[in-house]
Amino acid sequence: MGFDWAFFIERIVNPGAPYLNALGRTVTMAVLAMLLGLLIGLVVGFGRLSRFAVIRSACAFYVWFIRGIPVLVLLVMLFSGMAAAGLFRFSDIEVFGLKLTASFQAAVIGLAIHEGAYMAEIVRNGVQSVARGQVEAAKSLGMSPWQVTWRIVIPQATRVIVPPFGNDFNHMLKTTSLASVIGVQEIFLLTEAMSATTFKSFELLSVVALNYLVLTAIWNTIQGVIETRLQAHEIDRPVRTWWQSLVVYLTPSPSPSAGERRI
């Protein structure tokens, strides 16, 4: 037996349309779920800091409840459980000429609900990290509560939110594989299907593992560029554009170290 290198390389060089489609589905699912999760996280995270006790408790309940449910259980519950109980059944829809299958919708929503609970904590921590003096200065300049939030609190909280957000997105890229259980045709489900017909499970799983690694590596770079841009205030080189951020990220200035010197 042994590892079939030729097959492995062939799968990488020439993945074929079905696999590329599945890859697209994996990425789309992760991005949509993350964006929706961020939205939920913003609402629930700010909600946890509300001056109204009812809102605070409702948001705290959401975080407590959702974080206690395994994603896998949540996905199956949404897709099959609710349909079985006759509560709600997802059905295929078309958006801008793009067919969104029932399972894909359920997966995005389930992943987003899950992510939202974690994002809420990240957002809350970010908002609480903003120094009181910054808010007071903004108020003293006559800025409205809305302006203080959008111009001062959110931009400053973003610096604190982005690293754990990136961490979560890295996680999300791989967690999408759980959607295979409810039948979303993403890369893991396709790999499983191909394994069943070719019996080259190890090669195929290596390909898919490598694939996730590439995805997270790409995201790692994107996150680095975003973080560089957000650290403009403490970097000596100008970082005013995305291009400059990329250059600074890829060519970090060496930190000064003790070298040989004359006395």
Partner: protein
Amino acid sequence: MSSTDRKPLVRALGVRKFFGQAEVLRGVDLEVMRGEVLCVIGPSGSGKSTFLRCINQLETYQGGKLYVGDDLIGYRQQGDRLLPLASSQVVMQRRRIGMVFQQFNLFWHMTVLENIIEAPVRVLGQPAAQARENAMRLLERVGLAAKADAYPMKLSGGQQQRAAIARALAMNPELMLFDEPTSALDPETTGEVLAVISELASSGMTMIIVTHEMGFARQVADRVVFMEEGQIRHQAAPEQFFGEQAPARLKAFLSTIH
């Protein structure tokens, strides 16, 4: 400078403030004339910063009345009751009052120039070009024109405080509040900030300055106020205030500072 216009801009009538059970302002009565420069001194915990923060509503007061111009700060009168203002009205009242903080509080995610034009553009709706031009004039005035595009973290404390003063002035306030503006600075940079405040004082701006710099207070103030235990205990022109006729308690306090 003593103004000939004897109309008070700030009027405090028995202002009282509680933090929980503790009464930190126990009936403050004070008038500040237009164009007057008032320095407030006193031991820490005497309520001087709290009083300043009540004027632009970073704190609320629970007793008495506080006027800036014709505005009753924080409340509206309905019959014989005072009702708290809606936040939109609080925001309006704050626009005419500039504040400078002990910790500068420049927005660290914005350059110096962006810090200064933020409120004029967002709050007053000034066109960006005009706001930028005005900001550069103000930076010129505080000696920071070269630092317009620098981020606050790259500036010294004194430079940050001068930028913060420029930011407050950009709103064209009729009253400036300084909350221990040099307490976080080293002696060298303290001088450059005090110079900017002195220049501002001589331009006729109405100012209330909470400070521990007695030499500065003596030189720049039209009147000095001594606060202790939430009350104004003594007030006088600088010559009398720091002179031999000052009350014993004040002399004792002053001797702890020098």
